[in-house]
Every structure is written in C-alpha cells, then in structure tokens.
C-alpha cells in the first residue's frame, strides 16, 4: 500500500471533509444532469416509445412540437427507399380540451395507426386499448392527467375542438411536461385537431421502418438532401428535440452554472484540506528535504492523496446518487442516469480533486529544513 493511502486510511478524520466535498460535487452534478435528462426525456416520449426507425417532417424542424403539415403523398418517396419496408402518417398537434368542470386546457393530440406492427403508436398502449381507440371519438390519457382534464376516469366525457370525446382507457408513465398527451386514432385526430381540418391530405410526420434498423441513418441522410423536408432516425429526432429544449429553455445553461459552482466549492474544500494536511507535516517533510530527498517525492505524495480522496469521494457518491435518484423517482421526478453520466460526474470530480492537489502543492514551498534548526 503506498504511503499516501496509508496516511489517508489512518487519519480518516483529517481527510473526511475533502472526501465529502468530492462526493457532494459528484452527487450534485450527476443527479442534476440526471433530472434534466429525465425532464428532457419526457419531451421525446412519443418518439422514444414508438416503433418507427425514421421520421420525416417539414424542413428545419427543431423539435417534435414544432412540425408543420406535409403532404401525405410523400409517403411514396419514403416507401421507394430500398431499405424501407413500412411507412405511415402520424398526427401531432395542439388543440383545446374543454374541461367539463369549467375552463379549458391546451392539449396535445397524437393520432397514429393502431394495428399491431403500427409504427407510431406508443408501445405502452395495450392491444385492448388500441382496439377501443378504433371507435371514433375515443381517447386515452395518462392517469395522472385526469385531474387537470376534469374527468374522473375511464368513461369520462369531454369536448375537444367542438367534438365530443370519451376516455376509453388510461396509461401510466406518459405524462407530458407541457400540455397533456391525448392518444387516439388517426381518424379521431383529424376530427379534434383544427389544423388538419384545414389541411386535408396532409400529415404532421411520415414514419418509416427499415428492414435493418442500422440502415436508418443512411436513409435519413439520403432523404435530407431534399430541401423541402427534414428526415431523421428516431434517435436523432429524439436527441434533437431534447437538445432544443435544453438550450431554448436555458435549463442546460443554468445547470452548467450550478455544476460549475459545485465543482468550485468542492475544489475549495478539497484543496484546503490537502493543504492543511500537508502543512501539518511540514517539519517531517523538512527532515526528508534535509536528508536530500527531492521535493518531487513529496509532491507525488500530495498528488496521490488527491487521487485517493477523489476515488474515495466518487465511490461514496455512487450509492448516494442511486438512493437520491430512487427517492426522487418515488416523489414523481424522473431521473435518467445513463452510464456515460456516471462517467462524466466521476471524471469531472476526479479532475477537480487532482486540480485541488495541484493547488495544495504550494504548501510544499513552506518546507525549509533550516526551520528545524533553532
């Protein structure tokens, strides 16, 4: 075991503040980004929960909400791509939900094909629900939106854009960040979505499926060469939607700022702890210097301690992150923690710890053997 680690293990109280500071920074950054990813992932739920590999839309589209109707006849263009084995239209647009208890809500109408193997329908809709949705005027909503929509549950009646609709089923986990999603058939969507009344023969999106999903990027790139449309793989479109909201809402910027702050605070505590630990051993280091042992050996010890403090901190942070995330989930906040996020948090805080070590190295300048002779 190296001396740096021995000292760290045998004087845990001295190094604890630094370990906690690293763990705290890691925790804060990871959970914060996880919460943002969770919030953003809701925005692209309809994309992520559908079976389509390809999304074709109006030109320069930034996000799923910002589409504009395109001619449904372009379906043949999509279908003519040799890799594509299925295509279908997809309606997405806002409408007004008259709350039976008074007032109204903006809602987001999603109309898709429903048969098994359909590309647009969210996979969360069970075959029974899909069956019920084929009845014109029937809709499915997320169970958490009932209150907001003013209906009691299945069987509830309301009016959307002047048409009577009936809630025929509920899903969970499809709560939107903004206007509630109203899932329905294409036919119902055309009736309750005012925009499409004015655009007969149009659709908001055209969805495609490739024989081999790995061909999707090439097909999307080929289609994108046309200037009158945009085309993405589902992954690209999902990321684009999330990225748009992360930057548009400045949520990303605000979060970057807090992450930076937590790194700075963590670094202040860590470097101060390491500095104090080194300063406490100045006389011991001075003896070693008198004996001719080069300063870089001591610098190596301080840097190694910084590394151990960093590793201890990120190790401590792991279970805390998971505990905080699951308590957040149970409180209704979505926290998405991909592996790369753990790596990012650990990498940032470990670098922070090493930087703190570098900052603490200045304490070694105080090491002077002559101070031992008085």
């Amino acid at each position: 075991m190296p001396y740096s680690l021995k000292i760290l293990c045998r004087e845990p109280r001295r190094y604890l503040p630094a370990v906690l500071a690293v763990a705290f920074s890691d925790l804060l950054i990871t959970v914060q980004v996880g919460l943002l990813l969770g919030a953003l992932s809701v925005l692209s739920l309809p994309i992520d929960h559908a079976a389509a590999d390809l999304w074709v839309a109006s030109p320069d589209i930034q996000s799923i909400e910002l589409g504009y109707p395109i001619p449904e006849s372009w379906r043949s263009l999509l279908a003519s791509q040799p890799e594509v084995i299925a295509t279908e239209p997809y309606l997405y647009g806002y409408s007004y939900w008259r709350n039976p208890r008074g007032g109204s809500e903006v809602c987001c109408v999603i109309g898709s094909r429903l048969e098994s193997g359909a590309l647009g329908v969210v996979s969360d809709l069970s075959p029974t629900l899909r069956d019920r949705l084929t009845e014109p005027g029937s809709v499915v909503v997320d169970e958490t939106e009932l209150e907001r929509l003013g209906v009691d549950g299945v069987g509830g009646i309301a009016e959307v854009a002047g048409r009577r609709v009936r809630v025929v089923g509920l899903v969970s986990g499809l709560k939107s960040l903004g206007p509630p999603y109203i899932f329905c058939s294409m036919r119902t969507a055309y009736q309750i979505q005012p925009l499409f009344r004015d655009y007969p023969g149009h659709t908001m999106y055209l969805l495609g499926r490739c024989r081999n999903p790995s061909d999707a990027p090439a097909v999307a790139a080929r289609l994108r060469r046309r200037s009158d449309l945009s085309a993405f793989t589902s992954g690209e479109f999902s990321a684009r939607t999330q990225f748009f909201w992360a930057t548009r809402t400045e949520a990303g910027i605000g979060m970057g700022f807090t992450a930076m702050l937590s790194l700075l605070v963590g670094m202040a505590v860590t470097s101060q702890t390491l500095y104090a630990a080194t300063a406490a051993s100045l006389r011991e280091y001075a003896v070693l210097r008198a004996l001719g042992i080069p300063r870089r050996k001591m610098a190596g010890l301080v840097m190694a301690q910084a590394l151990w403090v960093g590793l201890a901190g990120i190790t401590l942070a792991m279970p805390l992150i998971q505990a905080l995330a699951s308590s957040g989930e149970s409180a209704g906040a979505r926290v998405v923690l991909p592996v790369w996020l753990y790596a990012l948090g650990s990498g940032l805080t470990l670098s922070m710890a090493l930087l703190s070590g570098l900052a603490a190295l200045r304490s070694l300048r105080l090491v002077e053997p002559i101070t031992l002779l008085r």
Binding site: Y3, K6, R10, A290, L291, P294
Partner: protein, 236 residues
C-alpha cells in the same frame, strides 16, 4: 594527527538582519572534523550553535568563508549538487522527533531508503529491520509514531539519520527533549555509529553529561569558537 579531516570550515561569517539591527551570529569560525570522532558543540542559548550546524551541513549559506567536505567546496557547487551531496553523505537529527504521526516506526525509515535511494520494498524492509534491531526497537517496528514513547521516537529519528550509513551526521540537541536515561541511549547509539562506521558526528547540546561521549568538546561564545567554556571567556 594521523588521518585527514573530512570537513574543513574556514573563516565562516554569518549575520542576520540588516543595517543597525544586524546580528553577527558567526564570527570568523574555523573548525575541522575528523572521521570516527564525536564533536560536541556547547554554548549558551542564542550563541549561534544551530546556525553553525546549518552552515556546515549545507542548509544555510554563510556570508563569508568556506566549507570543504571530502575535497569539495560545499557552498560553491550548485543547489542541486548540494542536495545530492546531502542525500549521499548526510544524516540529520533535529530537535523534536518530526515523525509522520500515522506511519509506523518501520515505515518512517523505509520511506527514506525507498524515496532517497530508490531501494526496492524488500531491500528497504531488510535494512530497516536490521536498523530497528540495532536501535532496540526490533519489536516496535509496526507501532505508529503517535503511539511510541518519546525515547522510542527519538531512537526512530536516530535510525532515520543513520540508515544510509552517512559519512556525516549532524544532530541538534538530540537529547534535549528526553530524560537522561533515554538521552544517554541516544548518544550511545550516535557514538557507536561514529566509531563503527567511521562517520563524522557533530552534536549540538548543552547537557554536560554528554561530555564523556565526545572526542572533542568545543564551545561557542558570542559567535566565536573556543576550547574553553563561556564562563572563562572575558566578555566585552
């Protein structure tokens, strides 16, 4: 005298401060140190003993004068060369124990050979084991410094200085913080090292009970060396 001096210091001058507040701490100090001998430097507090030790051992540059060690002029070579010189030839014992509190007795010593000479862990363990036995600490090697007694700590510090078989060992009041029983143990160890290894041993101390262990006793009075104690010197 049959053998050559290993260290020759000539006309050393050193003062602290500037202008009217200048304190001349070393005044024209010259001394020769021989291998295998223990020189005990005594004198009243503030007379410049530690300052002389620092100048002789390459830790404090004199204002004037020359220190020649093993034929080389200590204060004209580069700082890095002086550092290497200390690494190869010098051992130090300072007042206080200056041990890393949470490292064991053995680790304090191993650190010096591993970091100083790049010795392998096995080689370091072997040499440290032998040294601890010699110090009478064979069974205490695994004890943390903060759990050792004062006498044991100072013996570890002695071991740290002697581990590399230095040709010079400088000790500033090595027994100062110990009761005489432990102090005597320490000076005996140092004396034996000088005799057995032919090392130059330069000890600063003011306990008269150290005198029997010295081959030569010099006195520092007002920055000057003399072979007589201060009380016999006329004061100005």
């Amino acid at each position: 005298m049959p053998d050559q001096p290993a260290l020759i210091a000539r006309n050393l001058e050193r003062s602290y401060g500037e202008g009217s507040s200048t304190a001349r701490v070393l005044r024209d100090v010259s001394i020769e140190l021989y291998p295998g001998r223990v020189v005990l430097l005594m004198g009243p507090s503030g007379s410049g003993k530690s300052t002389l030790l620092a100048v002789l051992s390459g830790l404090l540059r004199p204002d004037r004068g020359e220190v020649t060690i093993l034929g080389r002029s200590l204060w004209t070579i580069r700082e890095s060369a002086r550092e290497r010189f200390r690494l190869e030839h010098f051992g130090f014992i300072f007042q206080g124990f200056n041990l890393f509190p949470s490292l064991t007795a053995a680790e304090q010593l191993e650190m010096v050979v591993r970091w100083g000479e790049g010795a392998s862990p096995r080689e370091a363990r072997r040499r440290v084991g032998a040294m601890l036995d010699q110090l009478g600490l064979g069974a205490r090697g695994h004890i943390r410094a903060d759990q050792l007694s004062g006498g044991e700590k100072q013996r570890v510090a002695v071991g740290r200085a002697l581990l590399k078989n230095p040709r010079f060992c400088f000790a500033d009041e090595p027994t100062g913080s110990l009761d005489w029983g432990h102090g005597e143990q320490v000076i005996r160890l140092l004396h034996a090292a000088a005799r057995d290894q032919g090392a130059v041993l330069f000890v600063v101390g003011h306990d008269p009970r150290l005198i029997p262990y010295a081959d030569r006793v010099v006195h520092m009075v007002d920055g000057r060396l003399s072979d007589e104690p201060a009380s016999l010197e006329p004061t100005l």
